[in-house]
């Protein structure tokens, strides 16, 4: 079985909700749609207070090169275009809509009939994806249409679909593959057409055997799509690791996957692409896993963007009494929320609820130089050293240790027997080195 070579850890999987069917939850009373939902520039709002909107209508337009449109996920009246706390914990510009009914734009095909026939041309596909405001659904939220525009002089050779879901707890991609596999496969074919590549590899970790079997059966029908079962190892879902595992190519340091002819897309993205191109439906909902060891009903919910997460938590049986931490995303790379009054965004793959016993970090001890952090680092860095540099106030030195290669997967902090805050320190170093590099470029 394939996997990437360098480093990696095996956190406890805890995929509690892997057998729970995706359930659509109801409409919220008000939807608060953050305008900061993609990497790059935030889009500009195109509606004002008092406007009536229908589901799927454009409410913010991304004008910058790296930016993505945002559409309303509910119908009703815009009540506010103002700052609101979003999943980052900071106040960001948001559009608040009072929900009235559920009226969709007529252009959107709401039927469940699967449209197998790809008629759009390459440019039409990219235009449609851009219009639909699709971003990477794995959590990084990089605008998908930018990824599909291969820069001059480069050639994409293979499309790699990320069905790895290496984060513990999360099962949203798993369920998408099982329940929406057919549509997702069409999405993959659309992406292949947009990139003009002959082959696509869907990497799936071996703990999702049912998804591997199901998609393997489906892939027999479509030429060029290969299912690649992968050995379970974190962080296999990292772009560079996945490329190494699936097609054994190594992306050079500081370069993008296109350097080795690869483009990586998440399975959720592929599904969104299908809906955008074949059904004209912009990205207005997503599957969110709500889980945790103390949660009553761990589940996978299809929620409209902008739904308050309290609704999702309610659906999962409510927030348990002893909850001390709620994580947006998986426990390895997710962000701890500082308030539960936030709303679903495009990059929210899951909500992990942790009781007191799990939320506290173990007490730290001296570094015993066991070198486990260097062994597990998938980028081959020396985390202990970078961490020491930060602690001694020499974060700038970390540039030579290639701290910018770090993708913050957290394997080092995870594995440290002394429970040292390695990644915290590395992030500080990364930030400072980033500032230095940017000031140098000027």
């Amino acid at each position: 079985m394939k996997t990437f070579k360098l480093g990696g850890v095996h956190p406890k999987e805890n995929k509690l909700s892997s057998n729970q069917k995706i359930k659509e939850i109801g409409l919220p009373k008000t939807a608060t749609i953050s305008l900061t939902q993609c990497l790059g520039a935030s889009p500009e709002p195109v509606v004002v207070k008092g406007d009536k909107v229908k589901v799927g209508q454009l409410i913010a337009k991304g004008n910058a090169f790296i930016s993505a449109n945002i559409h309303t996920s509910v119908s009703g009246t815009v009540t506010k275009v103002d700052d609101a706390v979003d999943a980052s914990g900071f106040r960001r510009k948001s559009i608040v809509i009072d929900v009235e009914g559920d009226e969709w734009l007529e252009t959107i095909d709401r039927s469940t009939i699967i449209n197998n026939n790809i008629v759009a041309s390459k440019d039409e596909i990219i235009a449609k994806i851009k219009e639909a405001g699709i971003v990477g659904m794995g959590g990084a939220t990089f605008p998908t249409h930018v990824k599909l525009m291969v820069p001059q002089g480069k050639k994409a050779q293979s499309l790699i679909i990320n069905g790895v879901e290496c984060e513990p707890y999360l099962t949203s991609d798993h369920r998408v593959m099982l329940e929406r596999g057919e549509e997702m496969m069409i999405g993959v074919r659309i992406l292949m057409k947009a990139l003009e590549v002959e082959s696509a590899y869907i990497g799936i970790e071996n703990n999702k055997k049912d998804a591997i079997d199901y998609l393997s059966k489906l892939s027999e029908k479509s030429l060029g799509i290969h299912i690649v079962p992968l050995k379970v190892k974190y962080p296999q879902g990292g772009e560079k690791q996945l490329i190494k595992a699936a097609v054994n190519r190594e992306v050079p340091s500081g370069k993008l996957p296109i350097e080795v002819g690869c483009v990586v897309q998440n399975v959720g993205t592929a599904l969104a692409v299908y809906e955008a191109v074949q059904k004209n439906k912009p990205l207005i909902d997503r599957v969110v896993t709500v889980t945790g060891t103390s949660v009553k009903n761990p589940c996978n919910l299809l929620a409209r963007i902008g739904t308050p997460i309290s609704m999702l938590l309610e659906e999962a049986g409510g927030v348990p009494e002893d909850t001390k931490k709620v994580i947006n995303g998986g426990p390895m790379m997710g962000k701890a929320l500082n308030t539960l009054e936030v709303n679903v965004v495009k990059g929210m793959s899951g909500l992990v609820i942790m009781p007191e016993s799990e939320s506290k970090r173990p007490s730290t001890a001296n570094c015993i130089r066991c070198a486990k952090c260097t062994f597990v680092c998938p980028m081959g860095l020396a985390p202990y050293q970078i961490s020491l540099m930060t602690e001694s106030g020499n974060a700038a030195l970390a540039e030579d240790e290639r701290v910018m290669d770090c993708m913050e997967c957290g394997s080092c902090s995870y594995t440290c027997p002394s429970a040292r805050p390695l990644l915290d320190n590395i992030r500080v170093a990364k930030n400072k080195v980033g500032l230095i590099i940017r000031s140098r470029a000027k």
């Binding site: 914990g89 900071f90 106040r91 500082n338 308030t339 939320s359 506290k360 915290d424 320190n425 992030r427």
Partner: protein
Amino acid sequence: MNTAILFAVITLSIIGVLSAIILYFIAQKFKVIEDPRIDLVAELLPGANCGGCGFAGCRNFAENIVKNESLENMFCPVGGNDLLKQIGPVIGQVAEEKEPTIAVLRCNGSFANAPSKTQYDGVKSCYFINTLYPGDNACPFSCLGAGDCVVSCQFDAIYIDETTGLPVIIEEKCVSCGACVKACPRAIIELRKKGKKSRRIYVSCVNKEKGAISRKNCAVSCIGCGKCVKECKFEAITLENNLAYIDFNKCTLCRKCVAVCPQNSIHELNFPERKASQPASGVVEEN
């Protein structure tokens, strides 16, 4: 036995002489001719290498003064005016008087004023916390209390008060080098004019959010109501982005703004107590 000792002494002597000769020639070859005035200036400097002057250490500061033969824009916050007066004659210049400044903390979001809504568990670094979330009191402008300023201070002039969670600047020790200003990721600390008898008036808040929002997180935030602006007859107070700012060059220390602030966010320091007829609404900081 004797010959052995003799032999050792002679050998060592020869090696010593040879090394001395080599060293002499090397020293000649790599000799750097330096303006002797640099040493004179450097000796006058405090030698703390705090970087408060904007140069890489005291020696570098001295080199620049001598090279430019000018004291323009050169100021050592540690030594202050007295020091510049001493340096002046060395390079034949007269130093301009500069008003002494001091570091001022412009946040009063203590545990009592801005109760914690979350609990931080991780590395003690304001810089890091600032990248993670707004802070435990949910005010995205407030002091994070992890003490980056304490670490940056070479003069032990700052400590974190355990009961408030805020740093305290010790007036007698602060030399106004500005290290804490640079260290604070939220630009809360400002170097302000020390003022007559160390008396200072300043807005102890840097929150630019609307009043309704900032008040939710903190009982003493500036809400940008503008009362102080109207009260000030010297146009020393400006209001921008829902935040009042007192220009210390224009402020006459009349204390009228302190009395009108509904949020008690304007602070007065080192003033005598008010008369009973004129009740103080401003929080007088201990010190």
